[in-house]
């Protein structure tokens, strides 16, 4: 699938076929997409634990369940518990940046040297970020989010349904045994969709100019009609919700899965 169509087809899928397993190589693809995402200082912010639903004990599944994830956690055969490593930037940046200087990725042309890394970038930037709880959480959440976003798109590209949801941090720590420096982010549910891939149509979003500005705040970015037409032709912009048949679809899928229909 072309990139724009993958972006256009991504939806939060909330109905999965509980009985259909996900091939291991597809899970691998999702994780590779996350591994290769952009990340500051080439640090390992995004961490994940892949869990097969059926490998969880009843007690562990129950402890990972929240009222808002209860349906999906039992339907989706694969759960990817995403975490952000709060120590990643401080731990990884000096050696990774140095490595990139040696590899010709960070260069003199842009001011990068081993001296700059050790005497300026690390103490003045990385340490400052890492010692400030709010800044650290902001950077970690943003950087891990980039990886998670690619993981979502990779799942769509593999023909899977996927969505992000919340999970309880402390029980997840116990069940998954993660290090103390990891902070909980989202669980990504993965499976074959039990609903159509359209899932009711592209979600409503405010117009481009309402979200994005040009030059300064208050001056809306203006796209062109031709640009929008091209994105429709290339399937990034698709038919928006609501679809006339959506409620019938939801009833039928709910009935099939034994979920409340009305």
């Amino acid at each position: 699938m072309e990139f724009k169509e993958v972006v256009g087809r991504r939806r939060s899928i909330r109905y999965f076929l509980p009985w259909r397993p996900v091939e291991r190589d597809k899970v691998q693809t999702i994780l590779e997409a996350a591994r290769l995402a952009s990340r500051a200082g080439n640090a390992d912010f995004a961490r994940a634990i892949v869990v097969e639903r059926d490998a969880l004990s009843k007690a562990d599944l129950a402890s990972l369940t929240l009222p808002v994830n209860a349906g999906m956690i039992e339907m989706a055969p694969i759960h990817i518990y995403w975490w952000g490593d709060l120590k990643a930037f401080a731990r990884d940046m000096p050696s990774r940046a140095a490595e990139q200087v040696d590899m010709g990725i960070l260069n003199i042309s842009h001011g990068w040297t081993h001296t700059f890394i050790n005497e300026v970038a690390y103490p003045q930037v990385v340490q400052a970020f890492s010692s400030d709880e709010v800044l650290c959480a902001k950077v970690t959440g943003c950087e891990a989010g980039l990886a998670i976003s690619q993981a979502l798109l990779a799942a769509v590209d593999e023909g899977l349904g996927t969505m992000l949801c919340t999970y309880p941090e402390e029980p997840a720590r116990q069940v998954l045994g993660v290090p103390d420096s990891w902070t909980s982010l989202w669980v990504q549910f993965v499976g074959y969709p039990a609903e159509s891939w359209e899932a009711g149509g592209q979600r409503p979003r405010p117009p481009l100019g309402e979200l994005f500005h040009e030059g300064k705040y208050g001056q809306p970015f203006r796209g062109t009609e031709e640009g929008a037409a091209r994105l429709r032709a290339e399937k990034m912009i698709q038919d928006p919700a609501p679809f006339s048949w959506r409620k019938e679809e939801v009833r039928a899928v709910s009935r099939m899965l034994g979920l409340p229909e009305e």
Partner: protein, 114 residues
């Protein structure tokens, strides 16, 4: 417990929700109410009491009482087991009760049928 629950506040809210959100007619809705009545008999509670035990008033809205919700989620499962018929039919009856809770603001999800 009274036998006429149709006019209680929470059943009225449910019937309105069924009609507005799911297109369930009033007559069809009343058939669901009869199932709810059986459930109320099982737990020996009025519909308004059930919802009150699952939600509490807080500043600016309502908050779910986890204990109450868990209690009724378990009672619904028991209710399903107590009904005759196939798995699908039992689940359907249980889902009517879940629908009553959901339309009154009690977030409730259930396992898919395996």
């Amino acid at each position: 417990m009274t036998t006429d629950i149709e006019n209680t506040k929470t059943v009225q809210a449910w019937l309105k929700g069924l009609e507005d959100q799911s297109g369930v007619s009033r007559d069809e809705g009343l058939q669901r109410v009869a199932v709810l009545q059986d459930f109320c008999a099982l737990v020996d509670k009025e519909p308004d009491q059930i919802i009150a035990e699952c939600l509490r008033e807080v500043e600016g809205g309502k908050k779910i009482r986890a204990k109450g919700r868990r209690f009724y989620a378990d009672r619904i499962t028991e209710f399903e087991s107590s009904i005759g018929g196939g798995a699908g039919e039992k689940r359907q009856m249980g889902n009517y009760i879940r629908s009553f809770l959901i339309h009154n603001g009690v977030l409730l999800q259930t396992s898919p049928l395996s």
